[in-house]
C-alpha cells in the first residue's frame, strides 16, 4: 500500500518504522527541515519537506494514488484539514487522524474522517484497567458496526452473585461472551452459569446499552 504520513514527530516516526517493516510504501510530510534531514539519515529518502495541509504539496507527492493518509501532527486542526483535503480533493479511500482533545471526535466523524485515534482516550482506558475498582472497561470498539467489547467486574457484595445468566434481564443487543474466574479456565457463559464474586465478564454491547448492562451485571 502507498501510505502518506503527515507529521514526522515521535508518533509519525515510529509509525513509519513499523509500517516500513511491514513492506508498505511510506512517505512522511514534515514542515521542519531539521526533522526532515534526521528522518532521511535514519530511514532513507522517505521524507518530503512541506505542509501536508496544502493542496499543492499533496498534489506534488501523488496523493491521488495513495491508499491511506494518516495525520499524526500534534495539532488537531492540522490533522482535520489534512484528512479533509486528502479525502475531498484526492479521493484517498482511507483517512486516519490523531486527536488530542477527545471532544473533537464527533466533529471529525461528521467531517468524514474514517478513523480517529485519541491518545488521551487510549491512555485513560489503560489507566482505568489498572484501577481495580473501575466498574467497566472498554476493551475494543468494533468500527462501523456500533459495537464494543467491554469488561465488567462483579463486586464482592453484588446482588448478582449466586444468580444465573438467564435470570438477569440483559439490555437488548448485549451478549455475554466470556467469564474469567480466579485460578480457573475461562468459562463460556451458558444460561445456567452462576455468577461469583470478582468474576470478570467480557461482553459485546453498544454505547447505548452500556450503562444498563453495567448496572444489571453489578446488581446496582
Amino acid at each position: 500500500m502507498y501510505i502518506i504520513v503527515i507529521g514526522g514527530g515521535r508518533v509519525g516516526y515510529y509509525l513509519t518504522r513499523a509500517l516500513l517493516d511491514e513492506g508498505h510504501e511510506i512517505l512522511i510530510i514534515e514542515k521542519n527541515a531539521t526533522i526532515c534531514s534526521t528522518i532521511t539519515e535514519e530511514l532513507g529518502s522517505i521524507c518530503f519537506r512541506g505542509d501536508g495541509c496544502e493542496v499543492a504539496t499533496l498534489e506534488e507527492i501523488g496523493t491521488g494514488r495513495a491508499d491511506m493518509l494518516v495525520a499524526v501532527t500534534g495539532d488537531d486542526e492540522d490533522n482535520l484539514v489534512a484528512c479533509q483535503v486528502a479525502k475531498h480533493r484526492f479521493n484517498v479511500p482511507h483517512t486516519i487522524a490523531r486527536i488530542r482533545n477527545p471532544q473533537n471526535e464527533s466533529l471529525f466523524k461528521k467531517m468524514g474522517i474514517d478513523v480517529t485515534v485519541s491518545s488521551t482516550n487510549v491512555i485513560l482506558e489503560q489507566i482505568a484497567e489498572e484501577v481495580p475498582t473501575h466498574p467497566l472497561t472498554h476493551l475494543l470498539e468494533i468500527r462501523h458496526k456500533g459495537l464494543e467489547i467491554v469488561e465488567i467486574k462483579i463486586p464482592p457484595d453484588s446482588g448478582t452473585i449466586g444468580k444465573t445468566v438467564k435470570e438477569l434481564p440483559l439490555p437488548a443487543g448485549s451478549v455475554l461472551s466470556l467469564i474469567i474466574r480466579k485460578a480457573r479456565k475461562p468459562i463460556i457463559p451458558a444460561p445456567n452459569t452462576t455468577f461469583k464474586a470478582e468474576d470478570q465478564v467480557i461482553a459485546v454491547t453498544n454505547p447505548k446499552s452500556e450503562e444498563e448492562l453495567r448496572a444489571t451485571l453489578r446488581g446496582e
Binding site: C53, E54, V55, A56, D75, D76, E77, D78, L80, V81, Q84, V85, H88, R89, N101, Q103, N104, S106, L107, K110, M111
Partner: protein
C-alpha cells in the same frame, strides 16, 4: 444580532468595534488577553462595549462560554487557516450557527472548503485583485 468573533487581531478587533458601534451584541475570543488592547486603540472607532473573553476557539467549552449556542453569526479570524476552518466547522456542525464566515489565506484551501460548504474568504486573492485593478486602471 449576536456575533461571536474568534481572533482579536487587527481585522477581528476592527470588525468587533464597528459591529458594536452599530448596536450589535459582540463577543471576541482570543487566546492572548494582550490582543484585547486593540479594542480601545486606535481611536478612529468608539471603544468596545461588548465582551472580550480569553479562550481557544477550537475548544467547544470556550465557544460555549462565549455564547455560541445563542449566536446568529460566527466569524473565524485567527492567523491559522486550519484553526479557522476547524472552528468554523465546529460552529456550523456542532452548534448549528446560522451564519459562519471564515478567513483562509491559502487560495487553494479556500476554494476547496468553499466547495465543501464553508463561507470562506481568501484575503490573498481579494487584496491581489485590488492591487491589480489599481495598477492597470
Amino acid at each position: 444580532m449576536k456575533v461571536v468573533i474568534m481572533g482579536c487581531g487587527r481585522v477581528g478587533a476592527w470588525l468587533a468595534r464597528s459591529l458594536d458601534a452599530d448596536g450589535h451584541s459582540v463577543t471576541v475570543l482570543d487566546i492572548d488577553s494582550y490582543s484585547f488592547r486593540r479594542l480601545s486603540f486606535p481611536r478612529q472607532l468608539p471603544d468596545f462595549k461588548g465582551t472580550a473573553l480569553v479562550g481557544n476557539g477550537i475548544d467547544q467549552e470556550s465557544l460555549r462560554r462565549a455564547g455560541i449556542e445563542q449566536a446568529d453569526v460566527f466569524v473565524a479570524l485567527t492567523q491559522g487557516d486550519n484553526r479557522n476552518i476547524m472552528a468554523s466547522q465546529i460552529a456550523r456542525h456542532i452548534f448549528n450557527v446560522p451564519r459562519v464566515l471564515c478567513r483562509i489565506y491559502d487560495p487553494l484551501r479556500q476554494e476547496l472548503f468553499t466547495s465543501l460548504g464553508l463561507e470562506a474568504i481568501s484575503p490573498t486573492t481579494v487584496f491581489a485583485q485590488i492591487l491589480k485593478e489599481r495598477l492597470v486602471s
